[in-house]
């Protein structure tokens, strides 16, 4: 009797899963966890706050004492072309190198196999202008967002990197990069949309009962080294400034897909 029950049960489960899903093995009507790991590195080395010394293309040695950036507005595309946009309210994360708990945002996405992931490096313009009651969590100017918000020129700082360098006449450097394009008059827009192909380094197979992990490498050297190399000696302090667009253009290329843990 027990055996019959089990067999019947298994048959029902199989039938159900076949019925509800176009891709065998996945139930696209339910969501499963997908974590996206932002692994900060400097070239070939792991990034070590305060202690690691790295050299940029301009030949300048530097350390990193602070590294923080926002990632938001995640959109995933399945191998069959279906696009899933993660609900915006649960889709703002602040990656802080000094806080390991922030390195691996967990998204909830429908089961399936995904070929691309895209997200905003920064905070979209709409959220930059939204009513203060919608600025919660990492966007709360009294909380995690306090260090990442310009009070004098309303808007979030998307990317913040600071450190020491003998190349700077001050002995240190600070890059606070933001600018969402302006509210009533146009200004710089450093919002960067990143799209990464996932097919060559491992397609994530998202399924309930496990946590799939997309492991991304974030190479801060690329903030300096790009189509236009950034020199600490020439630009040691860059905040809300036209030159910030050069830095943002560089760091838009700092993230790559390394591997997937299914």
């Amino acid at each position: 009797m027990k055996k019959i029950c089990l067999l019947a049960g298994a048959a029902v489960v199989m039938m159900t899963s076949c019925k509800k899903d176009d891709t065998p093995g996945y139930n696209t009507t339910i969501n499963a966890p997908l974590s996206v790991e932002f692994d900060n590195i400097a070239g070939a080395a792991d990034l070590e706050l305060n202690t690691g010394t790295y050299t940029n293309a301009a030949g300048e040695d530097f350390t990193v004492t602070k590294l923080k950036y926002y990632v938001s507005n995640f959109v995933l595309t399945k191998t069959d072309g279906t696009v899933y946009t993660v609900p915006q309210d649960s889709c703002y994360f602040l990656i802080d190198e000094s806080d390991e708990d922030t390195h691996e945002p967990v998204l909830s996405v429908p089961e399936g196999e995904y070929k691309t992931i895209s997200f905003v490096l920064g905070v979209d313009s709409l959220r930059n202008t939204m009513d203060v009651s919608h600025r919660t969590g990492v966007l709360d100017p009294s909380g995690a967002g306090a260090d990442m918000y310009w009070g004098w020129n309303s808007g979030y700082i998307f990317f913040k990197m600071e450190g020491l360098s003998a190349a700077s006449s001050m002995g240190d450097y600070m890059y606070h990069i933001g600018g969402f394009g302006g509210y009533s008059s146009a200004t710089i827009n450093n919002i960067k949309k990143i799209t990464l192909d996932l097919t060559t380094r491992g397609v994530p197979q998202v399924k309930s009962g496990k946590e799939t992990n997309i492991h991304l490498m974030v190479d801060v050297l690329k903030m300096f080294n790009g189509s236009s190399n950034v020199s600490i000696a020439a630009n040691s302090m860059v905040m809300f400034d036209p030159y910030s667009t050069t830095i943002a253009d560089n760091y838009a290329n700092m993230i790559r897909h390394d591997h997937t843990e299914n």
């Binding site: 203060v132 009294s142 009070g151 200004t187």
Partner: protein, 351 residues
């Protein structure tokens, strides 16, 4: 309630005075309760620009905002409140101070602007860097030379106080103190700082006041020579302009800092001309201490700096032609914009 037994040996006039005083105090206290009608748009004003739909003004929210406005805990060492640089008798500006004077006796680089009629403002600060009144207080609270505090500390201090959690509950439904609630309460108070009871307003509304001959001459001149920027009835068009004042060592580029556009360099927000008698000194850096100096600037000293407003350059002539008599007439008119009821309104004072 225990009714005190009145000692009959107390002279009757003392009792009469006592009752009379009690009556006055009660009246004053009751003023808000009886009359609080929320925000009302003066008949001769345009529609406000503030988003009341996301911050409905209630008596409790206003009372909380008022207490917060006068609250020194908003600063790092609990010494500076908003009201330090925004004094009611000065139409909520910092009269006598060229530039704002903040924590640890530090000085800013700009004149503390008047807080009045902000419901009609589209941007805030001399450079318009802030586009929502709800976000405005973040700037002075966190500015190193103003209050030098973190919002998180402010929320912690308020939460630990014996009075604030209850006031937040009354205003917002629970004792939780968040940045959004703090900022919305402050907005509620600032939005109620409406200046619409000057002699000019009474003349416009036909409620009794009449301009003198000199004021009327000044009004006609004003409409001809000033109104295109300082537009009635708010006396600002909310635009940013370079009025040709000479640059100082600070070389403040004004709105240029906010937009990074060359065409905005040296432009500043056109300030309202209401309550000028109370908001001395004038200009973004408080360089002029009299209205005579201001008009002398427009008449004789406008400089051809980059982005000088086209209205201040007619052909080869810079500035606005104004005779001495005309200047006196304009000043006479400008004084009709003083709103004595506003700067003395007990509902807006520290309680």
């Amino acid at each position: 309630m225990i009714i005190p037994k009145i000692n009959l040996r107390v002279p009757r006039y003392v009792i009469v005075i006592f009752i009379f005083l009690t009556g006055i105090i009660a009246c004053k206290k009751a003023l808000l309760d009886a009359d609080f009608a929320g925000f009302s748009n003066p008949k001769h004003f345009p529609s406000p620009t503030y988003h009341f739909e996301t911050n409905n003004i209630t008596k409790e929210g206003f009372v909380l905002g008022r207490k917060l406005f006068y609250e020194k805990m908003l600063s790092a060492n609990n010494t500076i409140s908003c009201a330090n640089c925004h004094i009611q008798s000065a139409a909520f500006s910092h009269n006598g101070h060229s530039v704002s004077h903040g924590i640890h006796d530090l000085l800013g680089t700009r004149n503390s602007p008047a807080i009045m009629n902000l419901a009609w403002s589209k941007t805030f600060m001399w450079d318009g860097g802030i586009f929502d009144l709800d976000l405005q207080p973040v700037a002075p609270i966190t500015n190193r030379v103003e209050m030098d505090e973190h919002l998180e500390n402010v929320l912690n201090k308020l939460s630990a106080s014996p009075v604030y959690p209850v006031m937040f509950e009354k205003a917002f439904g629970s004792t939780e103190i968040t940045s959004a609630r703090l900022l919305k309460a402050l907005s509620q108070f600032m939005l109620m700082c409406v200046s619409d009871k000057s002699k000019y307003d009474s003349v416009q509304l036909g409620t009794g006041a009449v301009f003198t001959m000199e004021e009327n001459e000044g009004y006609l001149l004003f409409k001809q020579k000033c109104n295109s920027c300082h537009t009635e009835p708010l006396f600002t068009d909310n635009s940013f302009r370079n009025n040709g004042i000479p640059q100082t060592n600070i070389n403040d580029s004004g709105r240029g800092k906010v937009t990074l556009q060359a065409s905005d360099v040296y432009t500043f927000k056109v300030p309202s001309l209401r309550n000028l008698s109370f908001t001395v000194p004038y200009m973004h850096d408080g360089r002029f201490f009299t209205l005579e100096e201001v008009l002398d600037h427009y008449a004789n000293h406008v400089q051809p700096t980059p982005n000088l407003d086209p209205l201040l350059q007619q052909g080869t002539n810079l500035g606005i032609s104004l005779t001495t008599v005309q200047r006196q007439q304009i000043i006479a008119f400008l004084k009709t914009l003083d709103d004595h009821a506003f700067v003395r309104n007990p509902d807006l004072s520290e309680q």
